[in-house]
């Protein structure tokens, strides 16, 4: 049991064939974590006893003939998903020691399917960051080069999957927090349509942008997990009750005759030329598979990041008002209630979180609300309209996930705007609520590059289909850090 980087599908096949038990797969993940996590810092907590008990229960289910397709598969949850009885910190001092009394819907549905959670992954504090450097528990290192960032905010999940510690991990994506780390770590990361997956029990950052996502080696693995977590939830009124299609069945559809739109603006200044070449090579693969590549235009692309950095901090400042040192979370010593609030929040939140709360409070404050917040919401509509217009002519939009491959830790921490510009290609899908995926499409200077595909609202199956046919035709998703297959 030492094969590294097994896919979910391969684990499922071996479990089904009786070649291996869930206990063996889970113990193998735990020993890899024990060996590699001290260097990578990808996990905040490892729940060994709970994981082995869940694995034994999964094996018992299989013996009883009661196993589903994912029963016994080990995986990890980003530490933003509430796990009943298991500490959930959001990588913040504010929530150090917080033990949720309930499971997030995503966690509960996977547990009911017999999936085994081995631990909670590291992340940027409250998911605010693009490099994992804002975590209270220290940065995650990129398995491809330990001097570089794994991206963020779901950097722990990305590093854990890339290094083969787990075959799949959950993430959340508010402005690219699943896709950007997936690109920088050379794995596949999917943000479903807004409303496709319940947000219940996922600690809120920006509620009109947040969506639960999945990170794995292949689109096929993601499709299998999406099947379990997608669908209406009475505990999240923004979770759509539209029927959930059979994602696995849609994977194999040929892309012959389909049209891929490529926005010219994506290739303007800022995109690394070698990264652009990797994306163009991926487009050639789609041509060979029979798809048509069509130039399209997103004329307001440059406004997406500034609009996002109004809407997102505004919603964050409101959501994070709940942390007041009274009902849960960090409490500072204070003699009066006002000081209690202020000191608890300033001690509990890190620098980037406080900066976003300040930005959000500022744009929502009297006198600035119209000029900033309503203006940004109008630009949000503009960006959404631009994307809708593209989808009148094309089935899917393709381009780079990030402007460059993984950058060095510390390279962008002094200038928040430089850090925010990492999100140039990813935030539009969140502003418009669209499904989007990042998949490995090459190496640039020995580091992974990501191809991003964006689909129309609720066309999650189409996005996974396009990703899967590419992965059937190429081997970039099999490239592992350090050259190991």
């Amino acid at each position: 049991m030492s094969d590294s980087r097994l896919t979910v599908m391969e684990m499922a096949r071996r479990l089904q064939a009786g070649e291996v038990s869930s206990r063996e797969l889970t113990a193998d993940c735990l020993s890899r974590i024990q060996a590699q996590n001290p260097a990578l810092n990808a996990f905040i907590a490892v729940s060994e006893a709970e994981a082995l008990a869940a694995a034994d229960a999964a094996d018992a289910r299989r013996r009883a003939g009661d196993a589903g397709p994912l029963t016994g598969i080990p995986m990890a949850h980003k530490d933003i998903f509430c796990t009943a009885g298991v500490a959930t910190t959001c990588a913040s001092r504010m929530l150090e020691g917080f033990v949720p009394p309930y499971d997030a819907t995503v966690v509960a549905r996977l547990a009911a399917a017999g999936v085994v959670c081995v631990g909670k992954t590291n992340m940027d504090e409250f998911a605010m960051g693009s490099s994992n450097e804002t975590s209270y528990f220290g940065p995650v290192l990129n398995p491809w080069d330990h001097a570089r960032s794994p991206g963020g905010s779901s950097g722990g999940s990305a590093a854990a999957v890339a290094a083969g510690l787990v075959p799949l991990a959950t993430g959340t994506d508010t402005g690219g927090s699943v896709r950007q780390p997936a690109a920088l770590c050379g794995i596949t990361g999917f943000k479903p349509s807004y409303g496709r997956v319940s947000r219940y029990g996922m600690i809120a950052f920006a509620s009109s942008l947040d969506q639960a996502g999945l990170m794995a080696l292949t689109a096929a693995d993601i499709a299998a997990f999406l099947q379990v977590i997608a669908g209406a939830d009475e505990r999240d009124s923004t979770c759509a009750d539209t029927p959930v299609p059979d994602y696995a069945a849609a994977l194999e559809t040929a892309v012959t005759g389909k049209t891929i739109g490529v926005p010219g603006e994506y290739f303007d200044a800022g995109l690394d030329p070698d990264y652009a070449a990797a994306v163009n090579a991926a487009l050639d693969i789609y041509r060979e598979l029979g798809a048509t590549i069509k130039p399209v235009s997103l004329p307001n692309l440059a406004l997406a990041v500034p609009a996002y950095y109004v809407v997102c901090p505004a919603e964050a400042s409101s959501n994070l008002a709940r942390f007041d040192g009274v009902r849960f979370g960090h409490r500072a010593a204070a003699d009066d209630i006002e000081s209690l609030y202020k000191r608890s929040r300033s001690e509990g939140f890190g620098e980037e979180v406080q900066r976003r709360i300040m930005t959000g409070t500022y744009v929502l404050s009297a006198g600035y609300y119209d000029a900033y917040y309503l203006k940004a919401q109008r630009v949000r509509q503009l960006i959404s309209d631009d994307l809708q217009r593209c989808f009148e002519d094309v089935d899917i939009i393709a381009g780079p996930t990030t402007p460059t491959p993984a950058f060095e830790l510390g390279a962008k921490t002094s200038d928040p705007v430089q850090m925010y510009l990492n999100d140039t290609y990813t935030v539009s899908a969140n502003l418009a609520g669209l499904p989007a995926i990042s998949l490995p499409c090459g190496l640039v200077g020995g580091l992974p590059a990501g191809l991003q595909l964006i689909g129309p609202h609720m066309a999650d199956a189409t996005v996974l289909n396009f990703a899967h046919v590419y992965q059937q035709a190429t081997e970039w998703h099999l490239q592992a850090p350090g050259g190991a297959a």
């Binding site: 917080f98 807004y194 009274v326 202020k342």
Partner: protein
């Protein structure tokens, strides 16, 4: 848009954050940089557009008016910094 130390102090108070006076200038410079970046939104012609508050058109779903949650106060209060007799304890707010 120029951000001043007074702006930072005012916004910090609104957000109930306590900014170390030594960090005020850092906030002025970094928040100023962010606001300059955000000011590029002014160039967009959005007169004909309505503000988009949410990514999907949907109406609030209603449910039957029935009690679905049980009383789990003790469980919830396990995460509270300080409680007594089922109440949350804070410094005196009424003299």
């Amino acid at each position: 848009m120029t951000i001043t130390r007074t702006d930072i102090e005012y916004v910090a108070h609104l957000a109930r954050l306590e900014i170390d006076p030594a960090e005020l200038d850092g906030y002025v410079s970094k928040l100023g940089r962010i606001m300059d970046f955000i000011d590029t939104l002014e160039q967009a012609d959005t007169d004909s557009l309505q503000p988009m508050a949410h990514p999907q058109e949907m109406a609030q779903r209603l449910r039957p008016d029935q009690v679905t949650e049980t009383d789990r106060r003790d469980e919830y209060q396990r995460n509270a910094p300080e409680t007594a007799d089922g109440l949350y304890i804070v410094p005196r707010v009424v003299e």
